[in-house]
């Protein structure tokens, strides 16, 4: 479960004040809002990439407000994918397990498992520069899931994906969330995405997060 208790976050001139949110465990939740209203800032605060000036962030019952990102157990998929340019797709999927000092056999198994789940087996030896928008997001999703996080944060993951691929990605995101049972928080400004994916829908409006019927 993700709980935000009256958090205040400053990002340059932008200030998000006393925002609260409660995302249920194992559900696919979507956070909507206009461009520039602070959706990405909220995700970055949950991931530990942006410090909160006040309030608390509680993940699965633990207060992680001042915990560094590495210890929060969150898979994060940024808008542009942010793939590592010098690594192959296989290296991306193996990166977090290596950092977590898993055994080589376990890493190989995890890479194969993720590649099959995401349908990226033919891409394993390729570098990110030759991948399409949809392929990049699949790799970013695989990298985020590679260390079995309990929470998955997706920041407009389909904004750079063409219409045909988007349909496949909806199906993929639904399936991945159902199979991994992660608590997913997906940020978007697309009502179609929200309608197709959300178990719970939240709207960020005038600095307040309101839960809406999905």
């Amino acid at each position: 479960m993700i709980q935000l208790v009256k958090i205040c976050v400053r990002s340059g001139d932008f200030l998000l004040s006393e925002a609260s949110l409660q995302v249920e465990s194992g559900k696919y939740s979507v956070l909507m809002g206009r461009t520039g209203c602070g959706k990405t800032t909220i995700l970055e605060a949950i991931a530990g990439l942006k410090p909160v000036t006040s309030g608390r962030i509680i993940l699965d019952g633990c207060d992680v407000t001042n915990t560094r990102p590495a210890l929060r157990g969150i898979g994060y998929v940024p808008q542009d994918g942010a793939l590592f340019p010098t690594m192959s797709v296989r290296d991306h999927l193996a990166f977090a397990p290596k950092i977590h000092r898993e055994k080589p056999a376990a890493i190989r198994e995890r890479v194969a498992e993720l590649a099959e789940l995401l349908g990226i087996e033919p891409l394993l030896e390729r570098s990110p520069c030759g991948l399409s928008g949809g392929e990049r997001q699949r790799v970013a999703l695989g990298r985020a899931l590679s260390f079995h996080p309990s929470i998955l944060l997706l920041d407009e993951p389909l904004s750079a994906v063409d219409e045909d691929t988007r349909g496949e990605m909806y199906e993929l995101l639904r399936r991945v969330q159902a199979e991994t049972q992660t608590t997913a928080l997906h940020v978007t400004h697309s009502t179609t995405e929200a309608r197709l994916l959300a178990h719970s829908l939240f709207v960020l409006r005038d600095g307040a997060i309101v839960k809406e019927e999905s």
Binding site: A70, F84, A144
Partner: protein, 187 residues
């Protein structure tokens, strides 16, 4: 923020100063304490050990070339997407791991460019060396000062021969930076 901008501007000083002035500044710097104080156990001051000696060649070349290298590397690191390091942090890395596994490999080509350009700049350095290290035969003589020395005694053939070595080195640097260096951070 002001301090950062000031430090950034200071980096440019060796680039914008005339080379002769850089050499003269170094020469003057080494006339002041503590650089003139005797080092216990050695019996000589840094001034005596450095000025008009081989270390002066290295310091004079470093003073000018390092500024170029830092500028090139700054441009390289500014082009790296900071989001990648942030993602690495969420994947379990600490700051050093995120930098060394993600940003550093990405900066490799830019660093190679910075190194080769700085080396090429050092190779052609003349003014600061003449003032700070002198141009003493078989002592503080480098390729650029050799050309000057050969010309001053009228040995054009020797001057041209040494110049050709410098041309070859310059072409090699150009090839290295064009083939393997970062194309978008060239000076």
């Amino acid at each position: 923020m002001l301090l950062v901008r000031l430090a950034d501007a200071l980096l440019d000083v060796p680039i914008v100063l005339p080379p002769l002035v850089v050499g003269l500044s170094l020469l003057i710097l080494f006339q002041f304490w503590p650089l003139t104080g005797r080092i216990p156990g050695i019996g000589a001051s840094l001034n005596e050990l450095v000025v008009y000696q081989v270390p002066a060649v290295i310091i004079a070349q470093f003073a000018v070339a390092a500024a170029f290298a830092v500028r090139t590397m700054k441009a390289t690191f500014e082009q790296i997407n900071p989001r990648c390091e942030q993602v690495a942090l969420t994947l379990g890395c600490n700051r050093w791991q995120a930098f060394s596994y993600v940003s550093l490999p990405e900066a490799r080509r830019g660093m190679l460019t910075a190194y080769t350009l700085a080396w090429a700049r050092s190779l052609g350095e003349f003014g600061p060396l003449l003032i700070f290290a002198g141009a003493t035969r078989n002592k503080t003589e480098v390729l650029s000062t050799t050309v000057f020395l050969e010309l001053s005694i009228g040995d054009i053939e020797a001057a041209v021969a040494v110049s050709l070595i410098m041309v070859t080195a310059a072409v090699a640097v150009l090839l290295v930076t064009r083939l393997w260096g970062a194309k978008d951070v060239m000076l």
